[in-house]
């Protein structure tokens, strides 16, 4: 993510896109996660009903939590980009810092600080790994072998 990704929308619109994408991810993940959880935690004979109930009550919440996180992160990312006017991994780290702080805002200063630092470090790790993968995948450009005779134009 260290360079501009041209396959994505410009800034105000990308917040909606990320909000929806994160919600869908959380919702579908929640269906699987809570389906399995409800299935396993029910007595035999009511396993399917338990899975259904668990999905129905928990999957929207999981989608909402993911969506909230993704939307806040994208919004802060856009704001940071607008202020700093550059694209590097620090955008994500700063946005993650603010996101973690915002999500913990009801818990008092201590929890805001802890949440912000944890989230910033987490995003830093993800961005760092992404950078390493990108660097490993980048091939050093090699000059093509010169033809023996110049091509006829």
């Amino acid at each position: 993510m260290s360079s501009t990704d041209h396959s994505r929308e410009p800034c105000p619109l990308v917040i909606l896109n990320d909000l929806g994408g994160a919600f869908v991810m959380g919702g579908l993940g929640g269906v699987i996660w809570h389906g399995v959880k409800g299935f396993r935690n029910s007595p035999s004979g009511e396993r399917l009903a338990g899975a259904k109930l668990s999905i129905k009550t928990r999957a929207p919440v999981s989608g909402g939590n993911f969506g909230m996180w993704g939307g806040l992160f994208s919004g802060f990312d856009c704001a940071v980009k607008g202020v700093r006017k550059r694209e590097d991994i620090w955008n994500g780290i700063i946005a993650g810092f603010f996101t973690g702080g915002t999500l913990a805002i009801r818990g008092g200063w201590r929890s805001i600080r802890n949440g912000a630092i944890t989230c910033g470090i987490l995003i830093g790790c993800i961005e760092g790994v992404g950078l390493l993968i990108q660097r490993a995948n980048t091939q050093v450009p090699v000059a093509p072998p010169m033809p023996a005779e110049p091509l006829a134009a």
Binding site: S7, L16, L19, G20, F23, V24, G27, L151
Partner: protein, 210 residues
């Protein structure tokens, strides 16, 4: 979202890398684009090597909407995001208004603030989550119908709304299913009307500009 679902646009580049015609070695070298196309057996009329398909807008007939979208993933993300965000804001506003009647008399400022915030966070996410799930299902079904019929019109939208409502209440019995289905169909119809009005206005203003 291409980082999540992978990219679907490798067709053009794959064709370009397909085995080159060995006869090319013996042809006289020419550096025009056309000769490269001929050498790689690419039909110029259908595929374009330099075509960046990521940026192409959706080509399904009648699928053009208010926000430009490239494929069903964009539709899904934008639709869900918009509905979730708007209903979250709406639900929070409802919770805020509702909380004014619940503030205990003579309480400290901190207690009043917490009463209001608790009420907002009770209503907002509840309404937002359920509306988001509805929008997600609606968009999945709508895109599936688009893909199946290869065109988009009002019947698609209405059918997707009906199916979404039915799916949402599918565990509650026949009567709630019918109610929810009807309500969602009405909602989808309202969305159709709104879109038509908006797009028509757009056309008219474009005509005026011309």
């Amino acid at each position: 979202m291409s980082w999540l679902f992978g990219s679907s646009s490798t067709k053009a580049t794959q064709q370009a890398q397909a085995e080159p015609n060995p006869q090319f070695q013996f042809q006289k070298p020419a550096n025009t684009i056309d000769s490269i196309y001929d050498a790689a057996n690419i039909d110029d009329s259908t595929d374009d090597v330099l075509d960046i398909q990521e940026d192409q807008l959706s080509s399904i007939e009648g699928s053009q909407s208010i926000i430009p979208s490239r494929d069903w993933r964009d539709d899904l993300c934008y639709g869900t995001g918009t509905v979730y965000g708007l209903s979250l804001i709406g639900g929070s506003t409802y919770g805020l208004i509702e909380s004014f009647g619940k503030i205990p008399q003579g309480a400290s400022f901190k207690l009043q603030l917490n009463t209001v915030l608790n009420n907002i966070t009770k209503r907002g996410p509840f309404i937002g989550n359920h509306a988001g799930i509805l929008a997600m299902n609606y968009n999945f079904i709508n895109s599936g119908l688009d893909y199946y019929r290869n065109k988009h019109d009002d019947y698609n939208t209405l059918a997707a709304g009906a199916l979404t409502g039915a799916l949402f209440k599918s565990t509650k019995g026949l009567k709630p299913v019918l109610y929810a289905s009807g309500l969602c169909t009405i909602g989808a119809g309202a969305w159709c009307g709104f879109k038509r009005m908006y797009l028509n206005n757009d056309d008219q203003s474009a005509k005026k500009l011309d």
